[in-house]
Symmetry: C2
């Protein structure tokens, strides 16, 4: 296997049919990467809609039943319940099958999921970078991963063939795959994803505390800056707690940046303010180049 | 005059031909609100391009020359140099003419500009809510204000006819006009605009302090949250300083919101975190309804 090679699964099970699970299913269908796809999730109504929309071929009433006979299992539930799910499906997993996930936290979770796999079942952690404030199947689309980065986090214990298949699968969906240590992943995403979520929630809460009616005056700036504060509180509670140490460390750095701006304001230090803003502008502009 | 009535100026002068100045000029041209429009700005190259693109009919080498014979003067320079400009053009302003601005700070600035006007020249403060991280004429468009709010800040001294003309002018560009006390304006925009800018700059600076290379891993969340950190440092330095007291007050509220999230994280308080996130989600979702 590898870049450009075709990967194929006889039967895929997708556990959790939300934005990412459903989009993965759609992308795999468009690329003809499987013979059949079975879903499972907490809400039967959602599963029925996914079947109706052709996102999954069928669904089962339990996670264990859904993974039966599957040579690829995609765990796409919120990260807080991933380990519970993995334990539940363990006995039902087929020998030789591959299990991957789409969680925004890796680190210790990858080791835990790996250790929960029965013998001859291979876990490979993944994180396609395509989340948004949306979380339902109505926003799912087969090209969600086109050009998006997907981090894959092999460990020393990872099966080489399983790793190559998971990499090929994501590449086939259009993602740009990068392999990375699971703990390094969490350091990076604490900074560029988890911290911005905390800040966006806090920004809205500050408006709520001072004068909530003012939101009717918000323009594009406030809307952009706080868009991800519409994200699922349950999902982000779990991500925040599971990446707590990294997150607290980067939030301390953020607090220092805020304090410097506040100090300049208090001291009417125009040069200092402009210096802070210019430094940020330079780095921010480099992203869109 | 008033809603629905046509307003017309023989000659308009627009001082500062950036995103807002140029878009105002274009919108007024599309609505045939003037006979002629003359520009002035710091960079002749920019003025030549504005003339070439049909944004202005012609330009002058000084602000005083540009306002000669104008019955409407639009001050569209960064707020930090507005008062200087107003003083400079004072002697050249025509009796009976109207001067308005487009600045993001009102409050004391409105009183100052008002007091700088010669006799029989009427100043009316405006703030069309249509800024972005862009600030040049290349992003200017005649429909920038369609559906956007425009705050107009009359004072006890405001000339009634001049006020009605300025309101009609903004309504003709497609804006939804609201009249408001200038100091109330600054309280509101400290919260929904100026604070988010401080936070966006600080977020990028935190990434810069911890690990700047990580920005290549940023997804839509980081991009949205920090988009306005690409805004002009000079412009935002002045806005921040001119609305310093309100800004420091709302930044204290933001600090309290951040501290509560950090406290929950430190204490592994999942319920507390979810409560904070849910509160923010609810208010944020109400904006897009």
């Amino acid at each position: 296997m590898g870049k450009g090679n075709k990967v194929y699964f006889k039967r895929v099970a997708v556990l959790g049919v939300g934005l990412i699970g459903a989009s993965t299913a759609l992308a795999m269908r468009e690329q003809k990467l499987y013979g059949e796809i079975i879903g499972f999730g907490r809400k039967e109504e959602n599963l029925a809609r996914a079947k109706e929309r052709g996102i999954i071929d069928d669904y089962r009433k339990s996670a264990a039943a859904a993974v039966e006979g599957a040579d690829l299992v995609i765990l796409a539930t919120p990260v807080g319940i991933l380990a519970g799910f993995a334990g539940e499906i363990g006995p039902a997993l087929m020998k030789g099958s591959i299990v991957t996930d789409v969680g925004s936290v890796k680190g210790a979770l990858v080791s835990e999921l790996e250790s929960l796999m029965p013998e001859e079942v291979h876990f490979i952690g993944s994180h396609p970078i395509a989340g948004s404030d949306k979380s339902g199947i109505d926003d799912a689309r087969g090209n969600l991963f086109t050009g998006a980065r997907c981090i894959v986090t092999p460990t020393a214990r990872s099966d080489r063939q399983a790793l190559e298949k998971v990499v090929s699968m994501w590449e086939a969906t259009g993602a740009v795959v990068e392999c990375m240590d699971a703990f390094r992943h969490d350091e990076i995403f604490a900074l560029v994803s988890h911290m911005p979520h905390m800040v966006a929630y806090a920004l809205v809460n500050a408006v709520e505390a001072v004068d909530p009616g003012c939101v009717t005056y918000s323009g594009g700036g406030f809307r952009d800056t706080t868009r991800i504060a519409a994200s699922s509180p349950e999902l982000w509670r779990d991500i925040a707690l599971m990446n707590r140490d990294n997150l607290l460390r980067v939030l301390a750095a953020f607090r220092a940046s805020m304090s410097e701006i506040e100090r300049c304001l208090e001291e009417n230090d125009g040069d200092g303010i402009e210096k802070e803003f210019s430094r940020a502008q330079k780095l921010r502009m480099s992203i869109d180049k």
